[in-house]
C-alpha cells in the first residue's frame, strides 16, 4: 500500500520537476556564457504557450505521426518513474529491470525516428538517420554500464543495484569509474546535448533531435518537449542511482524520505550545473565524429565490465 | 627325353621372344606380317612338342588350330589387305629403336623376375616358359604403343594373342578346348572387323595413319 502511494508520489514528482531541471541546466548555461538567461521556469511557460496554440498537421501525416507524442511521453514517464529517485521500494520496479529500461528507451527512439520519417521531408529522414546512428551505439554502451553495476550487485533489478551500492559496506569499484565516464558520454548523446547535438540551433549540419520534430506543433510539440525533459531527468537520476546512490531511502524507511528528497534536489542542482559546464567547455563535433565518440563510450563500458571480472576472479 | 623336349621348348620359347624383339624393331609392314607368321609357326611347333612330351592329345588340336589360324589365315588376310589398301611397301618411322630395345630388355628382366617364383612350382617343361610368355606379351604391348599406323598396331595386338597362347600351352598344357575355340573365333571375327575398319578408316581419312584419329579429347 505504502509502496503504491510512494509510486504515485514519485510519478507526479518526476512529471512536475522534469522541466525544472531542463530550465535549470539552460539557465546555468546562459550564466556560464555571460547571458542573463531565460529563467528557470521558461520550459513551463513554453509548454503553457504551446498548449494554447492550434496544432498544424502536414497533409500527408499518418496516425503514426499523431500518436507518437503520446507514446513517447508515456515511455519517458514510465522510465523516469521506475528509477528509484528517493526510495527503493517501488512496486513497479520488479516489472522492469535495467535491460527492459534500455528497451523502453529504444522503443521511444524507434518511434521518434519513425514519426520523423512519416512526413517524408528531407530534414525528417536526415534526423531519423542520425538519431538511429547515435542510438545504435549509445544503447549498447548504456547496457554495458548497467551490466557493470549488475555484475557488482549480481542483479539487473535497479532497486537491488541501488541497495547493494548504497547500503552494503563501502567498497571502491574501479570498474564503476570507467562505467561513470561512459555513462556521462551516453547521457550527453541520448539527451541531444553538446558535443553530440545542439538543442538550441536549427542548423542543418548539426541538428539531430530538432530535425526530427520540425513538423510538430502545439500540443504535440509540448508533449515531446516534456518527454525529453523527462528523459533528461531519468538519465540524471539513473546516474545518481548508479554512481552516487547515497541518501536514497531504503524500503519501508519512511523517516528517511524527506532527507532523500533533499538529497535529490541537491544532487539535481549540482548535476545540472555540471552538465551545463560540460556543454559549455566542449565544442559541437562533426556528425561523423559522433560514431567515434560513442564508440569510445561503448569501449569504456566494456572495459569497465572486463575490469570488474578481472578483479572479481 | 623329358629334359630334351624341355630344352627344345625352351629353344622355341627363346625364338618366340627373339621374334617379338624383331617385330619391335621392324619398320616395314610386310616383313612385320611375315615375322608374325613365323611367330605363329614357332608357337605351333612348341605346342606340338608339349603335346608330344606331355601326351596331352587335345593339344594337337590346338596346335592345328594355331597353325591354320595364325600361320595361314591371318597372314593371308593381312597380305590381301596390304594389297587392297596398297600399303604393301609403306614404311613407318619409329621413334629411336635403341631406346625401345632397352625398354624391351628391361621388360624381359622384369617379366622373368615376376615369373620366377611361379616357375619354381611349375612342371618340368614350364621352367622359364611362363616368364618368356609374359615377356612377349609385354613386348607386344610396347610395340602397340610405339606404332603410329593402324596395321602394325593390329599386328602387335595379334602378336600379344600369340604370347598368350604360348603361355596357355606351355605353362598349363592348354586351356579347355571349348575355351580355345572360343578365343580363336573371337580373334578371327576381330580380324574381319578390323579388316572392315581399315577400309572405312582409309576412305574417311584417306590414310591409315593414326595421327588423324586424335580429335576426341578434352580441350
Amino acid at each position: 500500500m505504502n509502496g503504491i502511494l510512494l509510486q504515485l508520489f514519485q510519478d507526479t514528482l518526476v512529471v512536475l520537476i522534469a522541466p525544472l531541471l531542463l530550465g535549470w541546466v539552460n539557465q546555468c548555461r546562459a550564466w556560464l556564457q555571460n547571458r542573463s538567461g531565460p529563467g528557470v521556469l521558461r520550459p513551463y511557460l513554453n509548454m503553457v504557450k504551446l498548449f494554447h496554440k492550434d496544432a498544424v498537421l502536414a497533409h500527408n501525416a499518418s496516425p503514426m505521426f499523431r500518436f507518437h507524442p503520446y507514446i513517447l511521453f508515456a515511455c519517458m514517464w514510465l522510465a523516469a518513474s521506475l528509477v528509484p529517485v528517493i526510495a527503493t521500494d517501488l512496486p513497479l520496479s520488479p516489472a522492469v529491470d535495467v535491460i527492459a529500461l534500455v528497451g523502453i528507451f529504444a522503443l521511444a527512439r524507434v518511434f521518434v525516428s519513425l514519426a520523423a520519417m512519416d512526413i517524408g521531408t528531407s530534414f525528417g529522414t536526415l534526423g531519423a538517420r542520425r538519431e538511429m546512428l547515435v542510438g545504435f551505439l549509445a544503447e549498447p554502451a548504456l547496457l554495458m554500464v548497467f551490466f557493470t553495476a549488475a555484475a557488482i550487485s549480481h542483479s539487473t533489478s535497479l532497486t537491488t543495484i541501488v541497495e547493494t551500492l548504497a547500503h552494503k559496506q563501502f567498497i571502491i569499484h574501479p570498474s564503476l569509474a570507467f562505467a561513470a565516464v561512459a555513462f556521462i558520454m551516453v547521457l550527453l548523446a541520448e539527451n541531444a546535448r553538446i558535443p553530440v547535438d545542439n538543442p538550441s540551433t536549427h542548423l542543418e549540419l548539426t541538428m539531430i533531435h530538432e530535425a526530427m520534430i520540425l513538423e510538430y506543433s502545439a500540443r504535440h510539440l509540448a508533449l515531446i518537449e516534456w518527454a525529453s525533459a523527462l528523459k533528461l531527468l531519468a538519465f540524471t537520476t539513473i546516474g545518481f542511482a548508479l554512481f552516487m546512490p547515497w541518501g536514497i531511502a531504503e524500503a519501508g524507511n519512511w523517516g528517511a524520505l524527506p532527507l532523500a528528497l533533499a538529497a535529490l534536489f541537491i544532487k539535481l542542482t549540482v548535476a545540472g550545473a555540471g552538465l551545463a559546464l560540460l556543454e559549455t567547455i566542449s565544442a559541437k563535433m562533426r556528425i561523423f565524429r559522433v560514431p567515434e565518440f560513442m564508440g569510445t563510450a561503448f569501449l569504456l563500458a566494456v572495459l569497465g565490465l572486463l575490469v570488474h571480472f578481472l578483479h572479481g576472479n | 627325353m623329358e629334359n630334351f623336349s624341355g630344352q627344345l621348348i625352351n629353344l622355341f620359347a627363346a625364338l618366340l621372344l627373339l621374334i617379338s624383339f624383331g617385330m619391335l624393331s621392324q619398320r616395314r609392314v610386310l616383313s612385320l606380317i611375315n615375322l608374325f607368321a613365323l611367330q605363329g609357326l614357332m608357337l605351333t611347333i612348341s605346342t606340338v612338342i608339349v603335346a608330344y612330351s606331355s601326351h596331352q592329345h587335345h593339344l594337337y588340336y590346338s596346335a592345328a588350330l594355331t597353325l591354320v589360324l595364325k600361320v595361314i589365315i591371318l597372314p593371308w588376310i593381312l597380305h590381301r589387305l596390304m594389297r587392297k589398301l596398297n600399303v604393301k611397301w609403306d614404311i613407318e618411322t619409329l621413334f629411336n629403336i635403341p631406346t625401345t630395345m632397352l625398354v624391351g630388355i628391361a621388360l624381359v628382366v622384369f617379366a622373368f623376375n615376376l615369373a620366377a617364383p611361379i616357375s619354381m612350382m611349375g612342371g618340368a617343361i614350364t621352367k622359364s616358359t611362363l616368364g618368356i610368355a609374359m615377356a612377349s606379351v609385354l613386348l607386344s604391348f610396347l610395340m602397340m604403343i610405339t606404332r603410329s599406323k593402324a596395321v602394325p598396331q593390329v599386328i602387335g595386338f595379334l602378336a600379344m594373342e600369340n604370347g598368350l597362347f604360348f603361355a596357355a600351352t606351355s605353362a598349363t598344357y592348354g586351356m579347355p578346348m571349348v575355351v580355345e575355340l572360343g578365343i580363336a573365333l573371337d580373334v578371327l571375327v576381330g580380324m574381319f572387323i578390323l579388316g572392315i575398319f581399315f577400309f572405312q578408316i582409309r576412305e574417311t581419312f584417306d590414310s591409315l595413319d593414326l595421327k588423324h584419329m586424335e580429335k576426341l579429347k578434352e580441350d
Binding site: - | Q56, L114, P117, I118, M121, G122, L130, M134, V137, F141, M144, A150, Q153, F157, M160, E161, L164, A167, A168, A171, T172, Y173, M175, P176, V178, V179, G182, I183, L185, D186, V189, G190, I193, L194, F197, Q200, I201, T204, F205, M213, E214, K215, L216, E218
Partner: protein
C-alpha cells in the same frame, strides 16, 4: 531350361534380324525378342528364388543370387532400351543419318550384344566368360561405329584397341588362374569352372593368384572404365547411337564389374588378405575423383553422362573393395539403380539431342517449356543420379559413405570433394538445359518416354522400399562375395 531360352532367344533374334533387320517391322521384332528374353529371365529368377542356386548343362552354366539379379536387370534394361530405340532409330533414319543396312546391322548386333552379356553372366566357365566379354566388345565396336562418321570411327577404333588389349590382359590372368587351379583340380575342363574354383579357393597358390588378379583387374577394369584405363569410355558413349550408350553405360560396365568381383572372391579366398580389396578401393577412389574433375569441363551432354558413369562405376568398385555385408549390399544396390537411372537419362538425353539437333549443351535450353516430359525426365533423372533422395542412388550412396566413414575415414574427404564437384558440374549444366527461355519449337512427334518414367519409378521405389526378396538376393550375394 530357362537358361537355354535366355541364351537362345537373343541368338535367334540376332540371326533373324541379320536377315530382316532392314524391314519396317524390324524394330518391333527387336523389341519382341528382347521381351522374350526378359520373360525367360523372369522365369529363371522365380526359379532361383524358389530353388536357390543351380548349375545346368553339366555345370557349364551356373546361377546364384549374385548373377541372377544381374541377368534379370540386363534383360529388363535391354527390353526397355529396345522399346526406346524403336522410335528413336526411326527418327534417325528419317533424318537420313542411317541407311537400311546400317539399321540391319544395328538390330542384329543389338541382339547379339545382349546375348554375349547374358552369356558372360550365366556361364560357369571363366574362360567362356572371357570369350563372351571379348565378343561383347566386338559387337559393340560395330554399334559404336554405326554412323560411319570420322568421330564415330575414331571412337570405335580406340574402343577396340584399348578394350582388346585390356581384355588380352584378362586372358593372361585367366590362364594364370587356370595354371594355379589345375595344380589343385587337375587338368581338363573342370579347372576353370567357377563352382569348383570357389570350392577350393583356399588351396590355390597365393602368389599366382595375386599375379592373376592384377592382370584380371587391369583387363576387366579397362572395360569397367576405371581410371586411368577409362579413356575409351567417353568417346564410345558420345559417338555411338544413344540406345547403345544407354546399354553400354547401364549394362556392359556392370558385366565387366561382375567379372572383377568374381575374381576378387577367388583371390580373397586364396590370399586371405585384403589385397584385392585395397587395389579395388584405390582404383575406385581414383576413378571417382578423376571423373568428378573431368565432369566439370564438359560441353557434350552424352560425354558428360559417360563421365558420370565412370564416377559411379568407381563408387561401386570402391564399395566392393571395402567388402563386408553392408558395403557389398550397397555396391549391388548401386549397380541396379545406376543402370536404371543412367539408361533413363540417356533416353531423355537422346530425345533432347534429337530435338535440338545437337549434343552441345549450350545449344539445349528450356526443355521444360518446349517439352515438359523430356525436361522433367532429364531433371529428375539427373537429380536421381546425383544422389538426391528419395531415389535409390541415394540409398546406396548413403550406405557407402557412412560405411567408408566408419571403416576408412581417410577416404571420405576425397569422396566429399568429388561428389561436391560432380554435383556442381552436372547440375549446373542440366539446370540450364532444363530451365530457362528457349526459341526452338516443340517436338513434332511425341517422344517415347514410358521407359524413362518406368525406370525412374523403379529407382524411386528402391529408394523408399526395397522388396524383401530383392533384399534377400542382395544379402545372399553379399554373403557369397563377402
Amino acid at each position: 531350361m530357362e537358361i537355354l531360352w535366355i541364351l537362345v532367344i537373343p541368338l535367334i533374334g540376332g540371326l533373324l534380324l541379320a536377315l530382316f533387320g532392314g524391314q519396317r517391322f524390324a524394330p518391333e521384332l527387336n523389341s519382341i525378342m528382347s521381351f522374350g528374353t526378359f520373360v525367360a529371365s523372369a522365369f529363371l529368377t522365380v526359379r532361383v528364388i524358389t530353388d536357390g542356386p543351380m548349375t545346368a548343362l553339366n555345370e557349364q552354366f551356373f546361377v546364384d543370387s549374385f548373377n541372377v539379379f544381374l541377368v534379370a536387370l540386363t534383360a529388363f534394361v535391354a527390353f526397355t532400351t529396345s522399346l526406346f530405340s524403336r522410335p528413336y532409330m526411326r527418327i534417325e533414319q528419317v533424318h537420313g543419318k542411317l541407311t537400311i543396312n546400317m539399321l540391319r546391322l544395328y538390330h542384329s548386333m543389338y541382339q547379339l550384344f545382349t546375348f554375349t552379356m547374358l552369356l558372360a553372366l550365366l556361364t560357369n566357365n571363366l574362360g567362356i566368360m572371357w570369350v563372351a566379354m571379348e565378343a561383347a566388345t566386338l559387337t559393340t565396336v560395330l554399334l559404336v561405329s554405326l554412323y560411319r562418321t570420322p568421330a564415330s570411327l575414331e571412337a570405335a577404333w580406340k574402343y577396340f584397341i584399348l578394350c582388346g588389349v585390356g581384355i588380352a590382359q584378362a586372358l593372361f590372368g585367366t590362364i594364370l588362374l587356370y595354371f594355379a587351379a589345375e595344380k589343385v583340380l587337375g587338368a581338363g575342363g573342370t579347372a576353370l569352372l567357377w563352382t569348383h574354383l570357389d570350392a577350393v579357393k583356399t588351396q590355390l597358390e597365393p602368389t599366382v593368384l595375386s599375379l592373376a588378379f592384377v592382370f584380371l583387374l587391369v583387363g576387366y577394369g579397362t572395360k569397367v572404365g576405371l581410371a586411368p584405363l577409362h579413356n575409351w569410355l567417353p568417346d564410345a558413349h558420345a559417338e555411338g547411337p544413344t540406345p547403345v550408350s544407354a546399354v553400354l553405360s547401364g549394362l556392359l560396365l556392370n558385366v565387366a564389374l561382375y567379372a572383377v568381383v568374381r575374381s576378387k572372391v577367388l583371390v580373397d579366398g586364396a590370399l586371405g588378405s585384403h589385397l584385392a580389396g585395397n587395389l579395388m578401393m584405390g582404383f575406385g577412389l581414383l576413378s571417382v575423383v578423376m571423373a568428378a574433375f573431368f565432369l566439370s569441363r564438359q560441353k557434350d551432354v552424352k560425354r558428360m553422362f559417360a563421365y558420370s558413369s565412370i564416377e559411379h562405376m568407381g563408387l561401386m568398385t570402391f564399395a566392393f573393395g571395402m567388402g563386408g555385408p553392408v558395403a557389398t549390399f550397397a555396391g549391388m544396390l548401386h549397380m541396379t539403380v545406376h543402370s536404371l537411372t543412367k539408361s533413363a537419362i540417356f533416353f531423355a538425353v537422346g530425345h533432347a539431342t534429337q530435338k535440338s539437333g545437337t549434343q552441345l549443351m549450350e545449344n539445349i535450353r528450356g526443355l521444360i517449356t518446349t517439352n515438359p516430359t523430356i525436361g522433367w525426365g532429364l531433371a529428375i533423372g539427373s537429380l536421381a543420379i546425383l544422389g538426391m533422395p528419395p531415389f535409390g542412388v541415394f540409398a546406396s550412396e548413403f550406405l557407402i559413405i557412412t560405411t567408408a566413414m566408419h571403416a576408412y575415414p581417410w577416404t571420405t574427404p576425397f569422396l566429399l570433394a568429388a561428389l561436391g564437384v560432380a554435383f556442381a558440374a552436372i547440375f549446373s549444366r542440366v539446370q540450364s538445359m532444363v530451365f530457362g527461355e528457349t526459341t526452338d519449337e516443340r517436338l513434332p512427334h511425341p517422344p517415347a518416354l514410358v521407359p524413362v518414367f518406368v525406370h525412374l519409378g523403379l529407382v524411386l521405389l528402391l529408394g523408399l522400399y526395397i522388396p524383401p526378396y530383392l533384399a534377400d538376393w542382395y544379402r545372399q550375394a553379399a554373403a557369397l562375395i563377402g
